[in-house]
């Protein structure tokens, strides 16, 4: 006599996991979208003019500290400008630069990585040498060279950020493509007469999209930090344009007696970079067709 186990009801695991994945994306995406929306809507909000100076109201602490003023919720800087208004207005430019700088690096970097990993040979040798040369150049030196040549402008800033970013994409996507092209399905596609450019764009690209997404989110954080560093050094945005990095630079001199001037833009950078990274991680697990193997 054999023992027979009663059949168990099949566990319906997949929909739940899928929903939880979407939940995490929303949990990080919604706050990020809210921050973005508030920054975009800054001109519509009842805020003081971010460029209006008032030396009599300089270095006011945040509203909840003694000496604070309800009109300046997060205090004022050394020229009496409202920190909250400047953060929101500065966020617009920071987001714009981050997205433009990220795209300008991600698109060429990903394509070059795909092409060099897929075709190998001479293309690969050339691209790989450029990647190595790029990675060997110090970022700040590169930035100074480009901005010295082109002058300080938004487009020069985006160019610097693109030059800074593309090599990372190219290198990682090349490695991923190299392993992907050896998978059996690629052989099957070649055998079925699918043209190489189509294999590249319709099969390789979707399969590296998860990696690109993770890189993009990591890179957006880095790009925001790089923009901040450049503005801090005076190579970034030009006053009266405002970015968080430039605000951080302005607050540096008052750090000992007026911490809020630097702390709140710093907090904004930290929050946004953290949210972007968490969102990227959540999106990767959400979009992955299977979280097992490969």
């Amino acid at each position: 006599m054999t023992a027979v186990l009663a059949p168990r009801r099949p566990a319906s695991g997949r929909p739940a996991t899928r929903a939880r994945g979407a939940g995490a994306v929303l949990a990080f995406g919604v706050p990020l979208a809210l921050i973005g929306a508030v920054c975009l809507a800054a001109p519509l909000l009842p805020l003081p003019d971010p460029a209006a100076q008032s030396l009599s109201a300089a270095l006011r602490p945040p509203a909840w500290l003694s000496g604070g003023d309800a009109a300046h919720l997060l205090g004022t800087d050394h020229l009496g400008r409202d920190v909250l208004a400047r953060i929101l207005y500065g966020g617009r430019l920071t987001f714009l630069i981050a997205v433009a700088g990220m795209l300008a690096g991600a698109v060429p970097g990903t394509l070059l990585g795909l092409v060099s990993g897929f075709y190998r040979g001479t293309v690969d040798a050339v691209v790989s040498r450029f990647v190595e040369a790029q990675l060997a150049l110090p970022f700040i030196l590169l930035a100074i060279a480009v901005i010295a040549g082109r002058g300080r402008s938004l487009s020069a800033l985006v160019l610097v950020l693109a030059l800074f970013g593309w090599a990372q994409y190219a290198r990682v996507i090349r490695a991923e493509t190299l392993s992907l092209r050896e998978r059996p399905f690629v052989l099957g596609l070649r055998c079925a007469g699918v043209p190489a450019p189509r294999i590249l764009l319709a099969h390789m690209l979707p399969n590296v999209a998860g990696t690109v997404l993770v890189l993009v989110t990591l890179q957006i954080g880095t790009v925001i930090l790089a923009e901040s560093a450049l503005s801090f050094l005076g190579l970034g945005v030009v006053s009266p344009q405002i970015s968080w990095g430039a605000m951080l630079a302005d607050g540096r001199d008052q750090l000992t007696h007026a911490w809020w001037v630097a702390a709140f833009p710093g907090l904004a950078i930290t929050t946004v970079v953290l949210l972007v990274n968490l969102l990227g991680d959540a999106m990767r697990s959400w979009l992955d067709p299977k979280k097992r193997r490969y």
Binding site: P184, L187, C191, G193, A202, P289, K290
Partner: protein, 283 residues
């Protein structure tokens, strides 16, 4: 056999690989993975190629599929010589089925989208059937069409791979270890499917495997490869019953179940074959 039924003609094929990378190989060492192999496959025939790892089976397969190097000799498929300059339609006359059933499908493409892609690239060759009919031919239900590869079993994935190959109406099906990654009951189903297709589609199949039991079950004729050469070939029954070459005898003796496992050798060590002079290693 009449001339028209000859699908594949491999004549004195040699495939030479460079040993080592482009920079690490200053001496120009080479390995002959396939060394003067000749074989033919006619329509409706299943021809087996057996041999251990490194015997040159896969190099032979890649050359036949038009995807590998051909260093010497000729490969002719339906009267057209395989070379680097094949038109797209000519290349698709050989379709492959590979060992890893899940790896044979793009993980991000549903079955339906994959078939639609093939139809768009080869509209003139794929109009003969609908997706549903095609899946029925390989014993699959049409509700599989909207699944991703990881949502089907290994056996189903292999059937999808076979369906994709059939869609292009190939003259030759190249099956490279098609059942090695499947469990035994699924293996039998896939083999039965291939046998059925051979009959219904009059398909020529080149069946490459290291699994002698499987080869014995499906192949009409069998070629035994060792170090890039065919050391013995003939009708399957003959080769299995009266192996002429020493290597074949040793291989056959290694089939589990043919004789009781040696109790003195519980590890079931693989058959000892002198391969000391074999150049290179794994392909």
């Amino acid at each position: 056999m009449t001339r028209e039924r000859r699908i594949l003609d491999v004549d004195d094929l040699t495939v030479v690989h460079q040993a080592g990378g482009r920079w690490g190989n200053r001496r120009g060492d080479t390995v002959a993975a396939v060394d003067g192999v000749s074989l033919t496959v006619d329509a409706g025939e299943i021809i087996g190629v057996v041999g251990e790892s490194g015997s040159g089976k896969t190099s032979l397969a890649m050359a036949v599929a038009g995807l590998g190097r051909i260093s010497g000799g000729t490969v002719t498929v339906s009267g057209v010589q395989v070379s680097g300059r094949l038109s797209r339609a000519e290349r698709t006359r050989v379709q492959v089925i590979l060992q890893d059933p899940h790896g044979s499908l793009d993980p991000r493409q549903t079955v339906r989208r994959g078939l639609r892609e093939l139809r768009r690239i080869h509209p003139e060759r794929t109009g003969w059937t609908t997706d549903e009919e095609l899946l029925a031919k390989v014993g699959l239900n049409a509700d599989l069409l909207d699944r991703l590869p990881h949502q089907v079993s290994g056996g189903q994935a292999q059937r999808v791979a076979i369906a994709r190959a059939l869609l292009l109406r190939p003259a030759l099906l190249l099956a490279d270890e098609p059942t090695s990654a499947l469990d035994v009951s699924v293996q039998a189903q896939i083999l039965r499917l291939l046998l059925g297709l051979r009959r219904s589609e009059d398909l020529a199949i080149l069946f490459i495997s290291h699994d002698l039991a499987v080869v014995r079950a499906v192949c009409d004729r069998v070629h035994v490869m060792l170090r890039g050469r065919v050391v013995e070939h003939g009708p399957t029954a003959e080769v299995f019953e009266r192996p002429a070459h020493e290597y074949t005898r040793r291989l056959l003796a290694a089939i589990p179940g043919r004789r009781p496992l040696d109790p003195a050798d519980p590890a079931g060590r693989p058959v000892q074959v002198t391969t000391a002079s074999v150049p290179g290693g794994e392909p």
